[in-house]
Amino acid sequence: MKFQAASSIAAVLAALALPAHADSYKLPRNVILEEECGSCHMVFPPQMLHADSWRAMMGDLARHFGSDASLDEQRRIAITDFLVAHSGGRKTGATRDARGKPLLRISETERFIKKHREISAATWQRASIKSPANCGACHTRAAAGDYDDDTIRIPK
């Protein structure tokens, strides 16, 4: 009995000690999000941006990184609420640029940069990768919200 208690405490401690990379980026099913934010690129993990960033992005969809991604008002509000509810908050690190505007790119957040600091500039520029926003080039299961280490394969 005593032994059992001790081993389950050990299990709990081991679970708590798991490194940050066990973070989950999975999402509850959301058909509207998949349809509207997964058509030009895969759905990006909302956990990797601050709520302020999502609100700013969702307020200017007609000029979305050089593309028109405008939406009807009902869907725009529903998606904003969902993204904000699953946003990363302060975990994303510094959330604003030098001029105080919310960062709009996940790939410019402190947390992203920290997690990818071992990747060289030359690697980012490979034709098979093109842009840090192309998560799926290296995270083979990114579209399913799976960013675990053992699913990463950096293309040549």
Partner: protein, 126 residues
Amino acid sequence: MRHLLIIAATLLATSAYADTPLDFLARYEKDAGSPASAERGARFFNMKHGDEWSCASCHTERPTQVGRHAKTDKPIKPLAPSANAERFTDAAKVDKWFRRNCNDTLNRACSAQEKADVIAWLLTLN
């Protein structure tokens, strides 16, 4: 063509929700006030209009095949109805993408004539 229009108009009258590519063609031709030209549609689709992209930049010059988003590389299912039965069956979707893509390639909305021409051309592809 006249027959097609009559058939399309009858379909429209009986089932407003079950849109087909021919329904869209008929509607845009009516709004434009003149018949569509597949040849004009092909030219329109494949040329640049002053900006970086043509329609073909993402949908390819043979839209019976899978396209690729010019910026993100994401695959795009074929646009020609013969290769993808879901195309031009949902008015909200068709309106939304004409609005966005015309804005991105022409910096303005597409006219009813241009939309009719494009659909007429897509319907000739097999």
